[in-house]
Amino acid sequence: MGRDEIFENVREVLEEALGADEDEITPEASLTSDLEAESIDFLDIVFRLEKKFSTDDQPFKINQGELFPENLMENPDWVQDGKFTDSGMAMLEERMPHVDFSGFADDRDVNKVAELITVQSIVEFVDRKLAA
């Protein structure tokens, strides 16, 4: 499946899950700050992506925490004083290669990490997973 087709499918998923308009769903739109997604919407998006991209031959199963980070505050090696440590940043980049962390190195605020997840991040995630 090509990137354009993946994007169209992701756009449909986000329209249904977030009630967002088609023109709002641009590649660079942030799910939380631009499309107003809340935590339960992430689960809705995961379920819909699984349904959208599964085939009879190849189920598209997303494990908990695979697409979006969870329970980050619990590990002091990763987060201290509300900021990601070097170890935490390395963990994020390893676990979420579909997210662009290039502008996050100075901020590192744990409350802002969800804002980094864009429509493009979802497309990248699906593309990598389908190719695996």
């Binding site: 935590s39 339960i40 379920f47 908990q64 619990e74």
Partner: protein
């Protein structure tokens, strides 16, 4: 005590489907205000609020979701994905909530369901007319993404729910 908006479970397929009914009665006080006839609106009729039909479906689907893990998880309604109710339901009529489990994992579940109505005054035979569709999402509260902790006791599935399960012959599910 939870305010129950279903009267009886009438069908249960483990991990797949649960059907419950609600008999709408004029003895329910809220119907006298929704809507009350007065000088301005003399034709107003008591009508089952659609919001309470959503709650009825949430209880039906919530029991289905909870039953998967034998009511160990605290299952809470997290999102009304879609709710369409196409006509009013009046006292004397019966509502049927037919919920199907679409997806469940550690974090939560999604369900789809139809709302049907039986108008006993129209036919001696029981016939059901589809009047709506409700899609819901539930969260397993102890698996919340923020890692927040809640009391150990399962306050979601209280004694009221156990009574409903007991009358349906499903009491062993909650033990």
């Amino acid at each position: 005590m939870r305010w129950m908006w279903i009267d009886q479970i009438v069908h249960f397929e483990p991990e797949k489907r649960l059907v419950a009914i609600k008999c709408v009665s004029l003895a329910e006080e809220h119907l006298h205000d929704h809507f009350a006839a007065d000088d301005r609106f003399p034709q107003a009729q008591p009508t089952m609020p659609a919001s309470l039909m959503i709650e009825g479906m949430a209880q039906t689907a919530g029991i289905l979701v909870g039953s998967v893990n034998r009511f160990k998880e605290k299952v809470v309604l997290a999102k009304i994905v879609k709710a369409e109710i196409s006509c009013d339901v009046s006292p004397g009529q019966t509502i049927r909530y037919d919920a199907t489990l679409e997806r469940i994992d550690q974090a939560g579940a999604s369900t789809v369901g139809t709302v049907e109505c039986c108008d006993h005054s129209q036919d001696d035979n029981v016939t059901w007319k589809k009047i709506g569709t409700i899609e819901l999402m539930f969260s397993h509260l102890d698996q919340n993404a923020a890692g927040l902790e809640f009391p150990e006791e399962n306050f979601v599935f209280s004694d009221n729910f156990k009574t409903i399960l007991h009358t349906a012959g499903l009491a062993d599910l909650a033990e």
